[in-house]
């Protein structure tokens, strides 16, 4: 082995994450190279230092708090069954947003253009009207779908006045060489917003078409895992994949 061992290899070696052949090469080098042995020891000390952060128990009242929230959730679901379904209204609203987006309006995850606050302000107004129609003072703390918290007043007010969050979400994921960006509770394949006009075809992950897609890009299920959706270019069309049947 010429030169010194890279930090990456030393770190992986320490974790037992190197292949047997690589391990043998590294050990032969370490036996003869003081600087590399010294760097390995330094890395080992850092890992050793992290042992001081032992697991802490969750607060003892957490189960009770969670139970209360779940009870509210159940009651909320029961109340919804008898009246106007505000969720469906919000879903319709989200469809409108999605439709606007796909018709070529400013991308939801891009830089804030001049038009975006206006569009969002209009949507905020629509949300307020829908909620007033339902006789509710605001979006409930507990929502029956993962999308709802993002449509809460805090988020919309912030956007309506053009105040971007101080630190934008940095989340990106790579799946089979594609880069996905976490954008407004949707994973969007980078570059896909320049795609053809019109609404993307919605495909449920558990449908035959969804299963076929996941069989080819199995890592996608990790992105879908928390109920979020994934917008991607699949063959020649744009597809919105969601975790449902």
């Amino acid at each position: 082995m010429s030169g010194h061992i890279s930090l990456e290899s030393l770190s992986a070696y320490l974790d037992g994450e190197t292949a047997p052949s690589e391990t043998r090469r590294l050990e032969a080098h370490l036996a003869a190279c003081a600087p590399c042995s010294s760097r390995l020891e330094a890395t080992r000390r850092v890992v050793g230092g992290l042992r001081f952060l032992r697991p802490a128990p969750p607060p003892p009242d957490l189960p009770a708090r969670l139970e209360d929230r779940i009870a509210v959730e159940r009651a909320d679901a029961g109340a919804r069954r008898g009246g106007l379904d505000r969720l469906s209204s919000l879903r319709s609203l989200r469809s409108v947003r999605s439709w606007l987006w796909w018709q070529g309006l400013p991308p939801l995850h891009g830089s804030f253009s001049a038009a975006r606050p206006l569009v969002t302000a209009g949507l905020a107004l629509l949300v307020a009207m829908l909620l007033l129609q339902n006789g509710e003072s605001g979006v409930g703390l507990v929502s029956p779908a993962p999308k709802l918290p993002h449509a809460g007043p805090e988020f919309l007010v912030s956007e309506a006045f053009g105040e971007a969050p101080q630190v934008l979400p940095q989340t990106t994921s790579e799946v089979a060489g594609r880069v996905f960006v976490w954008s407004d509770d949707v994973w969007v394949q980078r570059g896909v917003d320049a795609g053809p006009a019109g609404q993307p075809r919605a495909v449920a992950a558990r449908s035959p078409a969804g299963r076929a897609m996941l069989a080819k890009l199995s890592d996608l299920d990790v992105l879908l895992a928390d109920g979020s959706r994934v917008v991607l270019r699949y063959n020649t069309e744009t597809v919105e994949l969601w975790n449902g049947s």
Binding site: T43, G49, P58, E73, E174, A225, D226
Partner: protein, 228 residues
């Protein structure tokens, strides 16, 4: 154990899937079981990503509420543990990036009484002086960890505090194993640099060395770590 399940024709994820199916059938014990299994894991992930015990408690509650809502959509394609880590990480990223900075100044990462997890390191077999040193070093490490850029912090926390394999971390983060390897190495290297700059005035020895000297566990298990 794993081999026994496979020999019996039971996939490991099938057991997780069964738990999810029980939940969707309304079996309340299924969610209790999920909480019992993963509460400590989720709370500590939230704690180390947020650096704040109160925030971590709120995050944990919200994460389990999400798990409660969506457990029936768990398909068993990955382990439930990976799925829950993914949910937890997404929620932490969303909430922490939207409402507050991801990094905190050194020393602010945990509160004064060490409830950021350092209190839990108390081992009755260790003397008071040793415990005080351990608590102090724990605060230093927590402070340094809080200053790492989020991608590196996530990788280091998942590996060194949660004990996930590189492959599991890749699944949780949705990146390649090579990316995980790089992030862990760079995170540890930055951590080493931060710990060195955090040596108290007048103490010029390397703090990372002091940490290991004070940690009785650090001297054991090296051979095991090195085995491939």
């Amino acid at each position: 154990m794993k081999a026994a399940w496979i020999a019996a024709g039971v996939g490991l994820h099938d057991l997780d899937l069964e738990l999810a199916q029980r939940h969707s059938r309304g079996d309340v014990r299924a969610f209790d079981e999920v909480y019992s299994r993963y509460a400590v894991m989720v709370f500590n992930l939230a704690l180390r990503l947020s650096g704040d015990p109160d925030e971590a408690a709120d995050l944990t509650q919200e994460i389990f509420l999400r798990v409660y809502r969506h457990l029936d959509s768990f398909s068993g394609r990955s382990a439930l543990k990976t799925w829950i880590f993914r949910v937890a990480l997404n929620h932490c990223r969303e909430r922490l990036s939207r409402f507050r900075p991801l990094t905190q100044p050194i020393g602010d990462a945990v509160d004064g009484d060490g409830t950021g997890g350092e209190a839990s390191i108390a081992d009755p077999r260790r003397g008071p002086e040793e415990l005080a040193v351990a608590a102090d070093l724990g605060r230093q490490v927590a402070g340094a960890l809080a200053r790492l850029p989020p991608p590196f912090r996530e990788a280091v926390v998942l590996r060194d505090l949660q004990g996930l394999s590189y492959e599991e971390i890749a699944a949780v983060l949705g990146v390649r194993v090579g990316t995980v390897r790089s992030r862990i190495a760079r995170g540890r290297e930055q951590l080493r640099g931060l710990l060195e700059t955090m040596a108290p005035a007048g103490v010029r020895h390397r703090p990372a060395a002091a940490i290991v000297d004070a940690d009785p566990a650090a001297s054991r298990g090296d051979k095991g770590e090195l085995s491939a």
